[in-house]
Amino acid sequence: MTLLRTVPQKRVALLLVSLGIVILMMLWKPYALIEGLQRGGLYALIALPMALILGIVGIINLAHGEFMMLGAYFAYWLGVYFGIDPLVAMIPALAAFAILGSMTYFVTIRRALKAPELNQLLLTFGLAMVGMEFANLMWTSQPLKPHLSYVYSSMALGKLRFGTYAFIYTAAAIVLLVLLLLFLRRTRLGRAALAVGQNPRGARLVGIDIQRTYLLIFGLSIALVGAIGAMFLTRHSVFPSAGSPFTMKSFCLIAMAGMGNLPGVVWGGFALGVAEALVLSFRGYGGWADVVFFAVLVAVIMGRSYRRQTA
């Protein structure tokens, strides 16, 4: 767990490289940069709660995207029945998904904490399928989307005209990162959670209630991802399999950043978003954008295994 490790030299190098790429992109393909930062913000936003669960509870939640999808449906139906805007619906979604997450933890995850990793993967895969097929059963596979006029806001910068609304994802990703880091570093509860993530047995020895911490982190993460689902709905339509690509992309970001490195997840999200937008910007090759994350994942994996062999 290197959740808080700071490597100043590496960080400065990373910052300089990112800055260089941003300047290059600004001159070459400014639209791809803007689109990439917006896309990447969404990826990072969704990946953060997954990284939290993996870092502290130690479980890879393959149903992560499905919880987001259910959050989007929740916001959609609140909008249909009560006329609530999806962005406002984030608050009830937070509460509802805290309950859903805690229930999921109590009924299933809690029983698999000590099970082999393969069983945990199978379990959360099963949960993902239950979530997806539940949505299929209830609402069919028809894509649903509310009409919102404010998402079409745009602005002009010199010759550039671009949509501004989707920067909400970029901003939200950074805000969520800062809040999570503050929570983990500054609050008693967060520090306890961090300790559990680093060494559960040691944490129990110093008197931390591990079960309660797991429940809290799992419930919090699912609550967050439910609310993010409501935010997702403002720009995208929701359908039963809307969430599963995000599970995979989130995992890709976590693998890129290394376990427990939350700022790395956000950097990785922006990098992936910009890379995808760049591929999309070439006419005729846009269909390949969906492969980018897989190429990144395999490259990271190969790099890791190579390093392990030489070490």
């Binding site: 890879i60 393959l62 299933t108 029983r111 698999a112 099970a115 990793e117 393969l118 069983n119 993967l121 199978l122 379990l123 895969f125 099963g126 949960l127 993902a128 399928m129 239950v130 979530g131 997806m132 097929e133 539940f134 949505a135 299929n136 059963l137 209830m138 069919t140 399999s241 599963s244 690509p245 995979m248 995992f251 693998a255 269909g287 390949w288 969906d290 492969v291 994350f293 897989f294 994942l297 395999v298 994996i301 190969m302 890791r304 295994s305």
Partner: protein
Amino acid sequence: MRMTRTIPYLLGAAVAATFPLFTGAYLQQVAVSTLIYLTLAVSWDMLLRSGQLGFGTAGFFGLGSYAAVLLVLNVNAHPFLSIAFGGLVAGAVALLVGLAVLRLRGMYFAITTLALASIFAVVLRNFPRLTGGPEGKMLPTCIYAGDTTKIYWLVLAVAVLTIVISEVFERTRIHLALTSIRNDERVAKSSGVNVFRYLVFVFAVTSAIQGIAGGTYAHVFGFVSPEGSFSANFLLLPLAMALLGGIHSTWGPVVGGLVLGALSEYLKLQIPYGHLLVYGAIIVVVTLFLPQGVSRMFKTWVRRSSVTRGVQ
């Protein structure tokens, strides 16, 4: 003792072989899809016996479907040849992918293989001239012009082939190697098992079986499409079948496949949308409460009751 043991197998084989003689086209069609899923379930379990959880079933299945259909359309090959080609392509791709991802374990391997289905679908969609893009391709006719009896025997042959390969894996050195890798990789390595080579081999063989199943399926239904051929159902159903029946054996997935294949047809009639919810629930319940699967539970129950009878 040996005789009484072989009787259930012989009975099962007799029923399987003569099934079309006393059933109609509808039941045969149900049996065909059951056997396809059963084949996938057995092949998924074969990889699991080495301790690697692969989620690539749907990916290699779809790849085999595409390879078979495209070979028929482009060089007008014989259907059997094209099915074998489907297996070959899936196996070769698995070999290449395996060389990279089998260096990883646990969740990394599982999730990379989970991504394979959507990656293959995207790649195939991006060569519209060859693959028909998002619409996919259609065969001029289904195999045997849609005669369900002959199709049943074809699919049965594929399933039997898979069961035989699986049993060969269970009864030779391969079984020992895979079991030792599953139990403790370091011990396996220090006892002289070439872990990486065995894993790549098993991954390629099981993926080839999935490709053959896909090629057969494509010939039965006569078309391929990115959505249909790489559907998550080809992952979800086999997993539920193998888990329910009991993993790490040939007969567990077979029993689970037969039970769930019949159940699936009933559920499809009851709840057309989202009957797959039941399969997800089966996976969750089995991993939590019956990690041994139903058939092994039944076996221990039989053994226990026969032991008590023996005491009397």
